[in-house]
Amino acid sequence: MSVELTGAEITIRCLQEEGVRCIFGYPGGAVLFIYDELFKQDKVRHILVRHEQAAVHAADGYARSSNNVGVALVTSGPGVTNAVTGIATAYMDSIPMVIISGQVPTSAIGLDAFQEVDTVGITRPCVKHNFLVKDITELAQTIKKAFYIASTGRPGPVLVDIPKDVSQQKTKFVYPDKITMRSYNPVTKGHSRQIKRAAELILSAKRPVIYAGGGVILSDAAPQLTELVQMLNFPCTNTLMGLGGYPATDKQSLGMLGMHGTYEANMAMQYCDVLVAVGARFDDRVIGNPKHFSNENRKIIHIDIDPSSISKRVKVDVPIVGDVLDVLKELIKLLKTGKEKPDQAALKEWWKQIELWRERDCLKYDRESKIIKPQMVIEKLFNITKGDAFITSDVGQHQMWAAQFYKFDKPRRWINSGGLGTMGFGMPAAMGVQLANPKGKVACITGEASIQMCIQELSTCKQYKLPLKIINLNNRYMGMVRQWQEFFHGNRYAESYMNALPDFVKLAESYGHVGMKIERPEDVEGALKEAFKMKDQLVFMDFITDQTENVFPMVPGGKGLSEMILV
């Protein structure tokens, strides 16, 4: 007969069974029993953050950089409400994550108890699924389900809310090997007839584009995407979430597309005749105005694991529901065995056109500037790290410059909040990345506004000796807000200027880190080199950059992809 375990013990045992090695959290009343069990074991490492939002972002960064399910543990009430931003961030970017939250005892639920919130209600719209475990005998199975749901199909965060009394009660512990749910059976294999139709359409293309998104990264299909693009000699553009899915330094890469995408990527997207969308969802930041996009005639193949992503914003001709990895493998097999090849003469013409667009050199900036240009910092960072660092970012101009100027050749190296656009994401996410990749070089590209949204995590970095390199592109403005105000609001910079900034060097030092302030372009490279030499230290680099710099190209909101504002 097996011994009975408490709910808290079961929770930890489940994490161990799932192979979880690292979780992020913050203790509180409702999770005390669970923390007590954490204390008694050493298989699951707990990282104590300084704010629950950071716990979830860190678990998120951990998941994105390693393809493990990220795990966060928070207490009831404010613990959960603080975590919501992190959960919504992960939900928008389809990141596999399990959040365990404490809840007031079942007898107190609904009585406005201390630190009680309706966690399941509050998180419902921003999780893939959530559970309130009222019965201890269902706990192990529920956690198993949570991991299963989070990591299969279109991934996403799953929350398990555990009332305090449930974590205290006892039952026999059996961890199920497998779980089947009649209501949840995600498709993986694409429909073979649809894949055949896609292959035919691909072979008939005269002006093709492959448009690849975050789905490629999530399903670990970068090698297959690369093989497909290269065997066809097609141009490939990646979304913000898809960077690294195809090597950015390769000549067939058009770079990122969308609101701040390259001229060549956006023009090719607009004027192609066959578009192969792979794990991407035609969102508003990618295709701009869908009506304008539909003005041009093109056939669209759309590969996505989520049927609801297909024909949501744009009508699709060949929908293929399935895991990107499976579908690409099938597609490659089919194209390889067939005798037909794409029309080389047409492709040659198409590439000629693309090269003309490329010559527009849409990412040019003033390299002679006496003030530090943010783009230059990122280019230097790319050179010094040989493109091999893990880069996290916050949200705003610096995020777009990072996406444009750091050429990601590998997947899971670019970690940013694409969907929700959460300022404050960068540093906590970098903590998770560093913990998942202890030997990796991890840099967080941020701005003075974003970094202050989770600045308290400098303390966590000290506690766990996380040698992050913080690249603070400090222009004293909420840069992207300022840019929109300049373009669309008559230069009225309403509340986008930050007065009374801290001395970031001293701030970093007060947390026990190294701080640097860099004010001259000629010092940028040296500072970066010096920082990366300090392998065991977090280095906070405060780059004083040009206040007036804007991100180009730009497709203004509501405009079509070819209606870019260029430098």
Binding site: R124, I149, P307, S311
Partner: protein
Amino acid sequence: MRHIISLLMENEAGALSRVAGLFSARGYNIESLSVAPTEDPTLSRMTVVTIGSDEVVEQVTKQLNKLIEVVKIIDLNEGNHIERELMLVKVRAIGSDREEIKRLVEIFRGCIIDVTDKSYTIELTGTSSKLDAFLEAVERSAVLETVRTGASGIGRGEWILKV
């Protein structure tokens, strides 16, 4: 266009709020929604009547299908189906109106299920539009109270929604 969507879902606490939340979060219309357990007590059957273009209704069904607790879903408008709604309506019935209303109830194949010297309570089933028609036929000021269940739907013949 008006669509009747039928769902089989796990009979669990919170499942209904997921459906309702989805409609409000994504701005879909709900004309009516009715739900109750089936012969299998672990399953609930829900009927949602929604109005939208074909594209919107396609998204509605796809999004509903994504909910983890939804086991199966059909859009009844894709085939032949039967629709019924139950209405209880209390009307003022005095003097000569009493006979008039009784006749009306017969025409609509309803029945009077409660009587006082001043009122009738009428039970009526049918398509939602039939119930609308009855309410139009009765003098507006005579209607004291109405309660409707929202439509339930089922496919005709061999068309079955089952796990």
